[in-house]
């Protein structure tokens, strides 16, 4: 399985009277872990939603697919009615089978679902109601659903939100394994240390592209030094709020 390369050319997005993205130009290589970083409200989610065809953007976003065109998407923390009678297994089943989920999970899918739930350490909670899970547990389930069917491109919108150390390790390992096998991952990530450690390339976005390149080069630049104190401050605030 080989993941796609992606090119963003002059991407602009205006919603209402607000300019969200301005002249975005950068490229993602096939098989890379590419992290998108930047301040809150800087347009990161809007950028990947433009790529997924969910925003009225202008400009050109080219995804150069190879044999598989499957996208695994991990949206931002799922907000929904906590009393909804949907178990982890129901949720996994509804994303990947046509048979009505109230008739049960199809046998052909069951082993696949069990396998990915096991990979994210959630196999023991497959009968638990989605609304009873903690934020981090729900995040792991959201990650698990993105692995069925096997994707060529993983799109991750802050998958680590609310995760404990163990959960972070599991997801980190799964993402690295995925790109090692040839897949491409585009990942919105606030954790500079983690980006520095495992990303092949990064793009800093605050309405426009401020930094782009390999973490080591980019983080050593003068522009990065001006930006990162703000980011670190932001990270502390987020963790305090949590």
């Amino acid at each position: 399985m080989q993941g796609p390369s992606i090119e963003f050319e002059d991407v602009n997005l205006t919603l209402g009277n607000t300019r969200i993205l301005q002249d975005i130009n950068f490229a993602i290589r096939a098989g890379d872990i590419h992290c998108i970083i930047g301040a809150n409200g800087g347009g990161k989610t809007s950028l990947i939603r433009s790529m997924l065809g969910q925003m009225p953007h202008s400009g050109k976003i080219t995804i150069n697919w190879h044999e598989s065109r499957v996208v695994g998407y991990v949206p931002q923390l799922l907000e929904f009615d906590k009393t909804l009678p949907v178990t982890v297994l129901d949720f996994m089943g509804m994303t990947c089978q046509n048979r009505p989920i109230f008739l049960g999970v199809a046998r052909s899918r069951r082993s696949q679902i069990d396998e990915v739930l096991d990979r994210v350490g959630m196999i023991g909670k497959s009968k638990t109601k989605l609304g009873s899970l903690s934020g981090g547990e729900r995040q792991r389930v959201l990650f698990a659903q993105a692995l069925i069917p096997e994707p060529a491109l993983l799109v991750l919108d802050e998958p680590m939100t609310g995760l404990d150390v163990h959960g972070r390790e599991i997801l980190e390992r799964a993402i690295v394994e995925f790109t090692d096998a040839g897949g491409t991952a585009i990942w919105i990530n606030h954790d500079i240390a983690q980006v520095n450690e495992i990303a092949n390339t990064l793009t800093y976005i605050d309405r426009e592209v401020l930094l782009d390149g390999a973490p080591r080069q980019v983080l050593a630049s003068g522009a990065a030094a001006r930006l990162f104190p703000t980011l670190e401050l932001l990270d502390t605030k987020t963790s305090e709020a949590n």
Binding site: P75, P85, F91, M94, T95, R99, I101, F102
Partner: protein
């Protein structure tokens, strides 16, 4: 189809004749009512789960009110005023499409917009019916709001059956997609689901089944049967399987008990009211169970 109904009716009446089932089943209208209940129960109970999840509780009420205008239009263009299905279906479908279109354009929450349309449809419907009331039996308003399950004929049963088959053929294969689209539209879109189209499909389904049931159980009762059994089932279930299964059981049981009990014990209440009351009792019982049993305990605020 009539021959099939006749065969079924003769079989049930035969059972009553031999004393195997209660003698009220000797009457054809009772048998008709029961046959309808056996279809309407699972239909509304099943679709009701999705109505509850999508927070479209009052949508069928709005469509039911729109049916009043449909009847008025039917009378004006000369359709039979006891079964103006063409006018009812046409007007209600246009009404529902317009409602959903407005929802997509204004981005308002469903309950606000449905509330707005509910009042508008009632006002227009009542005005239109009043305007043509010189030409029709005034009971028509009652019939549409509260229905009359014991006066159904073969045409009503045909309309109901066709609607049920359409609903099953469309809703069953699309159930998971609709569920995912209401949980997270963005994720649904990435998985190749046309979220807007599905919304229109669902709105149309609820509309046609509301219209098909209006003559039989009435607009108020359609809404009650879409909501109460699903709400009762939600009180007790953690999985989607239990939620749907018990909603169907509660809804079907309410219909059957609601029709049978007043006749069996000579109670002075109409079948429509008895059906809702049965559903309401089930709801209260499930609520008490939820309050009493420790496994349902949750955060208080």
């Amino acid at each position: 189809m009539s021959a099939f109904y006749d065969l079924l009716r003769q079989f049930i009446i035969g059972l009553a004749d031999e004393g195997i089932i209660h003698y009220t089943f000797l009457y054809e209208f009772v048998v008709n009512g029961f046959l309808c209940a056996l279809v309407i129960g699972p239909l509304l109970g099943g679709i009701g789960t999705m109505v509850v999840i999508k927070r479209m509780a009052f949508f069928s009420q709005a469509v039911g009110n729109a049916a009043l205008t449909g009847v008025a239009i039917g009378v004006i263009i000369g359709e039979s005023y006891t079964a103006p299905y063409m006018s009812m279906f046409s007007f209600c479908i246009l009404f529902a499409l317009f409602l959903n279109f407005s929802k997509n354009r204004t981005k308002m929450s469903s309950d606000t917009l449905i509330g707005v349309f509910l009042s508008i449809s009632l006002a227009i419907g009542a005005t239109a019916l009043l305007w043509v009331s010189a030409r029709v039996n005034t009971h028509i308003l009652d019939t549409i709001m509260f229905g009359s399950i014991l006066t159904v004929n073969d045409t009503d049963m045909n309309v109901l059956l066709v609607t049920t088959v359409i609903t099953a053929l469309v809703a069953l294969p699309l159930y998971n997609q609709m569920l995912l689209a209401s949980l997270n539209p963005s994720l649904a879109h990435v998985r190749g689901i046309n979220v807007h189209l599905l919304e229109y499909v669902f709105v149309l389904l609820v509309t046609i089944l509301t219209v098909a049931c209006v003559k039989i159980v009435g607009a108020v009762l359609v809404e009650a049967l879409l909501l109460i059994p699903a709400a009762a089932s939600r009180n007790l279930n953690r999985s989607i399987r239990g939620f749907v299964l018990w909603s169907v059981i509660f809804s079907t049981a309410s219909c059957l008990i609601g029709i049978y009990a007043p006749m069996r014990w000579d109670l002075p209440i109409p079948s429509g009211g008895a059906i809702i009351l049965t559903a309401a009792i089930i709801f209260v019982v499930t609520m008490l169970i939820r309050m009493a049993l420790p496994q349902y305990r949750e955060a208080s605020i």
